[in-house]
């Protein structure tokens, strides 16, 4: 019998019941909740007279709708529908007695940044949230994935999820990254290589020297976009960096429990003889700073490339690429570095952590923005406070960036931070779909350093030219 993968080990440790056909009831250790995908789930509980089974394992924070401008604690500064949704979360958190970080709390932020920051996310856990970017938490060696609202209700009521085991996929990034290449370039390059459906049916474990070399922040960036490659979840085996990040956080174990936890966490790795259903290997040295040119996260190219011709693709992608170019207002053969940018957005659960802000500030320091609008939206109130302490906020403000409060903001534009039709944005977020950042808005995805470079030059730019 072959050994187990990390995914196998975590999955097996959480099986409550397995039916003959392999359908499992999986126990959920942490349930994160935000305001957009939960109101119907809580309403379902009320209608059926059910309650939250494990309120202590349930953590809620509003993030999608909240304005990122000053004065937002005043509900009058929110649109009516946003206000209703945030008020519903307030009420549900109170009524059902779950942990809650309201807008007025400095710890508020994007749910996937708050979870790790507060020590809710720990290695070996099962973590779910009604949000596809729950994959982020896989950076800790936690099995974490997004669920729909019906499943949110199911987890609230039963603390379990009905699951079939996914297949195992290994994505190995060997060697070292070149200067100017970051975790975002890794994760985008993997999607570029495998496609947005390449991971469908799999849980991905990212490994290899280039992954081990990443900080926890970088690992979260990599796992965050596992969903963009179609995978159920992304995982990275926990190591000393993971343990160091977790230790001392408010909800991390302490004393004897810390030692016990650590002993188990150190067993969480894929065995040498584990079976992999699919293996993808990419040389770290081959990864360049990349940007997306189209309207799918798989539309990835090195910044040194040109806009591709639709007929260079096959099958249904030919039409999709033509549609993308029409939407994006681009011509085949155009140099990517010639594409002019109107707006720069630095933030999101992909790249709204302190390391991301440091990387962007290092490029921006002492210079001025050359775009119409540039904004930095820290991923949490605590990231924001730390960035202010480190002087990063001043660097951004001096350069002409707006320095915002924490939230999802222009990643999905549910709050007032939106693109206008035809407006083109260099974004550190995760999706370049049509209309994602506002109807008619055009999104190019990239790393924080690359977005900062675009802000300074007014066009897509190879950050290595500014280093």
């Amino acid at each position: 019998m072959s050994g187990k993968t990390l995914y196998d080990k975590i999955f097996d440790a959480h099986v409550v019941h397995e039916a003959e056909d392999g359908t499992c009831l999986l126990y959920i250790d942490r349930h994160l909740v935000h305001e957009v995908t939960s109101p119907q789930a809580f309403e379902g509980l009320r209608m059926t007279g059910r309650t939250v089974r494990a309120p202590d394992k349930t953590i809620a924070v509003p993030d999608h709708n909240v304005p990122t401008t000053e004065g937002r604690e005043n509900p009058e500064n929110m649109t009516e529908d946003s206000r209703i949704q945030v008020a519903a979360l307030d009420q549900n958190a109170r009524d059902f007695g779950i942990h809650y970080y309201p807008v007025s709390d400095v710890r508020q932020g994007i749910v996937h940044i708050v979870g790790p920051e507060q020590g809710w996310t720990l290695p070996g856990m099962t973590v779910v949230c009604g949000d596809s970017h729950t994959a982020t938490h896989g950076a800790f060696g936690a099995l974490a994935h997004g669920i729909g609202t019906s499943e949110v209700e199911h987890v609230l009521a039963t603390q379990t999820l009905i699951q079939k085991k996914s297949k195992n996929m290994k994505v190995e990034i060997t060697g070292k990254l070149a200067p100017g290449v970051t975790a975002k370039d890794i994760t985008l390059s993997v999607i570029g290589a495998t496609g947005t459906a390449g991971g469908t049916g799999y849980v991905i474990e990212y490994c290899g020297e280039a992954i081990r070399d990443l900080s926890m922040e970088g690992r979260m960036t990599v796992c965050n976009m596992a969903i963009e490659g179609g995978a159920r979840a992304g995982l990275i085996a926990p190591d000393e960096k993971t343990f160091a990040y977790v230790q001392g956080r408010p909800h991390a174990p302490k004393g004897a429990q810390w030692e016990a936890a650590l002993a188990w966490w150190k067993t969480l790795f894929s065995d040498d003889d584990a079976h992999w259903d699919k293996v993808v290997t990419i040389r770290g040295e081959d990864i360049a700073p990349v940007v997306t040119w189209g309207t799918s996260p798989e539309d990835v190219l090195p910044i040194t490339a040109t806009v591709p011709a639709p007929d260079s693709f096959k099958g249904g992608k030919v039409g999709a690429a033509q549609r993308s170019l029409d939407y994006m207002g681009l011509e085949p053969g155009q140099k990517l570095t010639d594409i002019a940018i109107d707006t720069v957005f630095i933030g999101s659960c992909t790249n709204g952590r302190i390391e991301d802000l440091r990387a962007a500030a290092a490029i921006v320091k002492g210079k001025k923005v050359a775009v119409k609008r540039a904004m930095v939206v820290p991923g949490s109130g605590l990231v924001r406070a730390q960035a202010e302490e480190e002087g990063l906020a001043d660097i951004f403000r001096d350069a002409g960036f707006e320095w915002r409060l924490a939230g999802c903001s222009m990643c999905l534009a549910m709050n007032p931070d939106q693109l206008q039709p035809g407006e083109r944005c260099a974004a550190t977020s995760n999706r370049n779909f049509e209309g994602r950042q506002g109807r008619g808005g055009r999104t190019h995805l990239m790393s924080p350093a690359m977005a900062a470079a675009a802000a300074l030059t007014g066009h897509l730019t190879d950050v290595r030219d500014l280093m």
Binding site: H154, A197, G316
Partner: protein, 201 residues
């Protein structure tokens, strides 16, 4: 949840690949706290212009597809955001079945919670159904969940694979939560054991 047994209906063709849930229901409609009423905004930015007028070329605006109950779509349908508003909007419009070569994982699961049947078939079979769909009401497609078959307008029948538990729930319109709560004793006992093994959780 409504049961799904058999369905004979008009299929709308949407050959575009990678139709994401942002396209199916854009974010501005996620601010609802209800599940109903989203059908009018299904595919909103493809279906209406900036002033809210229908775009006549969009498939669901064409007279022959206004009553469509089936979508035949390109690869990787439903990718992106986990929003269950996507199947809610499809259902509210009247779509009970989506046929494609592949679906994104979360969207696929969400369909079954809402009485929608997503069917995965090989490319050549999807192509045949796509050409039926292009004929509108002149080429109705029949789906039979019990026998796990799709029948094209010329009588060709294609078998599809489906998880037995999902099939059972859909055929009988079962509530997952009710089923799981029947295993409450197993959950209780798991919690006791887990508390001893991993007390820090």
């Amino acid at each position: 949840m409504d049961k799904f047994t058999t369905l004979t209906g008009i299929a709308a063709p949407m050959p575009l690949v990678n139709i994401d849930t942002d396209m199916i229901i854009p974010k501005q409609f996620l601010k609802t706290i209800k599940r109903s009423g989203l059908g009018v905004n299904l595919f909103d930015e493809m279906r209406y212009d900036q002033d809210g007028n229908e775009i006549p070329d969009f498939v669901l605006n064409k007279p022959q597809y206004r009553e469509a109950q089936i979508l035949v779509a390109g690869d990787n349908f439903g990718c992106g955001s986990s929003r269950e508003h996507a199947p809610w909007a499809l259902l509210d419009f009247g779509i009970r079945c989506v046929i494609s070569t592949s679906f994104a994982d979360i969207f696929y699961n969400n369909c079954f919670k809402n009485g929608i049947l997503p069917i995965t078939l090989p490319q050549e079979q999807v192509d045949i159904l796509m050409s039926d769909a292009e004929k509108g009401a002149n080429a109705r497609i029949t789906v039979d969940l019990e026998s796990q078959t799709v029948t094209a307008s010329d009588g060709q029948t294609f078998a599809f694979e489906l998880d037995s538990f999902k099939k059972h729930c859909l055929l009988n319109g079962l509530d997952d939560i009710g089923l799981t709560l029947e295993k409450a004793a197993a959950i209780d006992s798991f919690e006791v054991t887990a508390q001893q093994a991993r007390p820090w959780v």
